[in-house]
Symmetry: C2
Subunit: 316 residues, 2 copies
């Protein structure tokens, strides 16, 4: 019984940690969003891959949602004195990851291979797979102009109102071969979409034609977890963006957003009243606690998803 | 009364510090060797510029001869855990310099402009000028093959025997415009060659045709300080390399090496017996204490050089 998870950073990493606790890591693979990746200070930075990797290595900083535990920032302090760019906070330990990635990429290695090497060094067992080895970059069209993702998300703290999202490069980007393998392996029971931000983290993955094709070819159910609970996002700007795009922020709106892609949706018990409306769209519903506050609740949600997956008809 | 100094790293930086203590920094400029520069971990590193800059900023580490005082190495420790390359030790603060330089170069700024910006941020008044904005790279032909400079110097601790030195790129490299200005300004009284390693630090500067031309055009005396004292180098592999090249390591051999380039040579009191042999080459000699152990002795040596320069006939 194996699973492949589509994930962004923080919110997704919580559920991935739940699967890691529940199931042998050999059975679970994660396809990570790379449209947040950018070159900063000459370094290749892959924020979602790193959050997943640090989470699974047990060294993620749970307070910040990014970076490494017990981190120091001597380099950033020195860079500040040089009038360098310090709005994207890179810890001294975290810098090692980016230096090593940049070096390996410049030597001609693919992001897939680099990520596998970093995971091996950090003793992360679960494969973390970039959605593509090609360049895809989320561009945020806002009321304050078209912004690069990290400019919007980190420097401007997701304050500008979003009008449209473009995943530049996704029309030509090829699915990473290991991502295709992960979606089409024989033992696969379900594809799981984490409660990451649909617009900023999951849609970039789904924007790759090769990913959509592999999801179609695969006969397993695709199950998403709603990132909206009681009309609100537990973390991050998902509800804010939905409102800016003229959408109601609700689990039903999430179901409509993923309609055509997913077979099942896990919604929070708070939202159980929406079950029949979602099922009317032809999407199966699992009602569960989806708020992940500790490892127990993360593991319980993973277990609810695997139970839910077992209810789907084969070749449905 | 102004001076332009040709310098490599550690040994040269001591004399530059002496000039900085002696004379208004507006009157002194340093042209730095850049043939040690390399790209490592994706970063543009300029070791000699940085040693000069950190020395003049008062933040150089006097114990190591490289890097910054009170430095931490969290990034290197993390990189070691990732099986990354850690043979070239980059401190956390020092990394900021390389990140900022790399970013500015990638934006299209020249190394001259980047260096000026870094010096301004560190409140270094004396202009530090790269010999060229083009790529020149010292390649060390040894009994262990042809080695990149830092591979020879840092990774292999200058152990392989040197057979020949090549400054790749120097045949096409243009003198930096600010270096030309520094060698041809009206107020210039002398050009000073520091007791840096002639083969590894000074010859790369002299290998640039534009530097040699500017030295010829300039009517001021060129005065070197012998890096060999009592047959030995005070620091570094100068004597070792001379022996490997089949040369006697002596102040006389230094005079012969720089013959045709210099008008005067400062030798140590230990070597006063060599004065007449050097003068027989047509090179004026100044006998002085050249061992720089503290700021007083650095400043005294700078003063001896400026006194020596005053003895040359105008337009000699």
């Amino acid at each position: 019984m194996s699973y492949t998870i589509l994930s962004g950073g923080v919110g997704g990493a919580k559920l991935v940690a739940g699967f890691d606790a529940l199931i042998s890591s050999a059975e679970v693979r994660v396809i990570a969003n790379t449209a947040d990746d950018f070159v900063h200070l000459g370094l290749n930075i892959s924020p979602d891959i790193d959050t997943l990797m640090y989470t699974l290595a047990g060294i993620a900083n749970p307070q910040t949602g990014w970076g490494i535990l017990d981190e120091t920032f001597s380099c950033m302090s020195a860079l500040d004195e040089l009038d360098g760019a310090t709005w994207f906070r890179l810890g001294d330990k975290d810098l090692a990851t980016h230096l090593h990635r940049t070096t390996m990429l410049q030597k001609g290695n693919s992001l897939s291979d680099v990520t596998a090497a970093l995971c091996a060094a950090l003793e992360v067992q679960m494969p973390i797979i970039p959605m593509t080895n090609d360049l895809v970059a989320t561009r945020v069209h806002t009321d304050d102009g078209v912004l690069d993702f990290q400019d919007y998300f980190v420097r401007r703290q997701a304050q500008p109102a979003v009008k449209r999202l473009v995943y530049a490069g996704s029309d030509t980007a090829a699915i990473a071969p290991t991502a295709r393998d992960a979606l089409l392996r024989d033992s696969l029971k379900a594809v799981v979409i984490t409660p990451s931000n649909p617009y900023l983290s999951i849609d970039p993955i789904l924007s790759i034609a090769g990913i959509r094709e592999a999801l179609r070819e695969s006969k397993v159910p695709v199950i998403a977890v709603s990132p909206i609970v009681g009309g609100q996002a537990l973390k991050g700007p998902t509800a804010k963006i939905m409102n800016e795009l003229g959408l109601e922020s609700s689990a039903l709106a999430i179901a409509k957003h993923y309609h055509g892609t997913i077979d099942g949706l896990v919604i929070d018990t708070t939202d159980s009243a929406l079950q029949s409306s979602i099922e009317a769209l032809g999407i199966k519903v699992c009602v569960s606690n989806t708020v992940m506050t500790d490892l127990i609740s993360k593991k319980d949600l993973a277990a609810a998803i695997t139970d839910f997956a077992a209810n789907f008809e084969p070749n449905a």
